[in-house]
């Protein structure tokens, strides 16, 4: 059984109030390491056995149409074994 990971992040030019909220909360709590923070989504998808190329193509399509909105977001697909 493998795990496919889809990471979805807002495009850099799109306002990310969640990331900003984290970025401004960190120093209030005494954490000073962050220059900037962006917050996105992470999908862990379990598939049976090793994903086939055909399956991966499907995943790409799902990532593009359902899991992300190309108007505001970008995505990356990875396989974890």
């Amino acid at each position: 059984m493998a795990k496919i990971i889809v990471e979805v992040m807002l495009k850099p030019e799109i306002l990310d109030p969640q990331g900003q909220a984290v970025a401004s909360a960190l120093p209030r709590l005494g954490f000073t390491f962050a220059k900037s923070v962006r917050q996105g989504k992470r999908f862990e998808i379990e598939v049976d056995g090793d994903p086939t190329p055909a399956q991966m193509a499907e995943v790409e399509k799902a990532a593009e149409t359902l899991l992300s909105n190309p108007v505001i977001e970008t995505y990356v697909v990875k396989v974890e074994k």
Partner: protein, 225 residues
């Protein structure tokens, strides 16, 4: 004669009964449409109501966009069929690419329910023709993801073509680009609006009755056809 206006119920729609009430109060016949069927039941216009379709857990409107009823609506809209998306309905319209841009988390990250002042910027759409140009109205706003975002190019087009139909006035509730509260498609038959006109149709239950004009506008336009 009376006109039939469909009101779509997705799983998780909340303001469907309110939208139907507004249609009827404006003099139309509200026809319930269920997400799982692609039958438009011979309606002459459609309202996509507010709510949290499918819980809106992924992105608002992202899953509703794929409902069978949306296929029919997208096709009809391309032929000039009037569609009004309110709040979640607006989000569905953006996800369906009937309208450009996207609605994202409010800039202060909170759900916000307030009586919001708007300026009507375009009275040439099916849904806003009853307003006076520049008219200011107050209707409820209530959402967690109402911040209208798009790229600069799109924004330029929207502004230059007068497709911003309403803007927030006096108060920026969510960080929308150019204080955009609602937009239309090129043809003006598809309108998306973040605030809720269906909650401003009876003075006792809302801040005003300004919202009714969106519905009477569409019905007037249908008469004119």
């Amino acid at each position: 004669m009376s006109f039939r206006v469909g009101v779509v119920t997705f799983p998780g729609s909340l303001d469907d009964r309110d939208a139907a009430r507004a249609v009827e109060m404006a003099g139309g016949i509200a026809v319930p449409l269920f997400h799982a069927s692609d039958d438009l039941k011979e309606v002459q216009a459609v309202v996509l109501p507010g709510g949290f379709s499918y819980g809106d857990y992924l992105r608002c409107g992202a899953i509703a966009r794929f409902a069978p009823i949306m296929n029919s609506i997208v096709t009809a809209a391309s032929h000039g069929f009037p569609v009004l998306g309110i709040c979640n309905g607006f989000q569905v319209l953006c996800e369906s690419h009937l309208l450009p841009g996207a609605l994202t988390r409010n800039s202060n990250l909170h759900f916000l329910c307030r009586d919001q002042k708007l300026k009507i910027e375009n009275t040439n759409t099916v849904w806003t023709s009853g307003f006076k140009p520049g008219q200011e109205i107050v209707i409820p706003l209530k959402n967690g993801e109402g911040s209208f975002q798009c790229d600069d190019e799109t924004l330029k087009i929207l502004e230059s073509e007068g497709r911003v139909i309403a803007r927030y006035v006096d108060f920026d509730p969510n960080g929308s680009r150019n204080l955009i509260a609602g937009i239309s498609n090129e043809r003006g038959n598809v309108v998306g609006l973040m605030p809720h006109p269906e909650h401003a149709i009876e003075s006792l239950m809302g801040p005003s009755t300004d919202g009714l004009t969106f519905f009477t506008s569409a019905l007037q336009q249908l008469v004119g056809r």
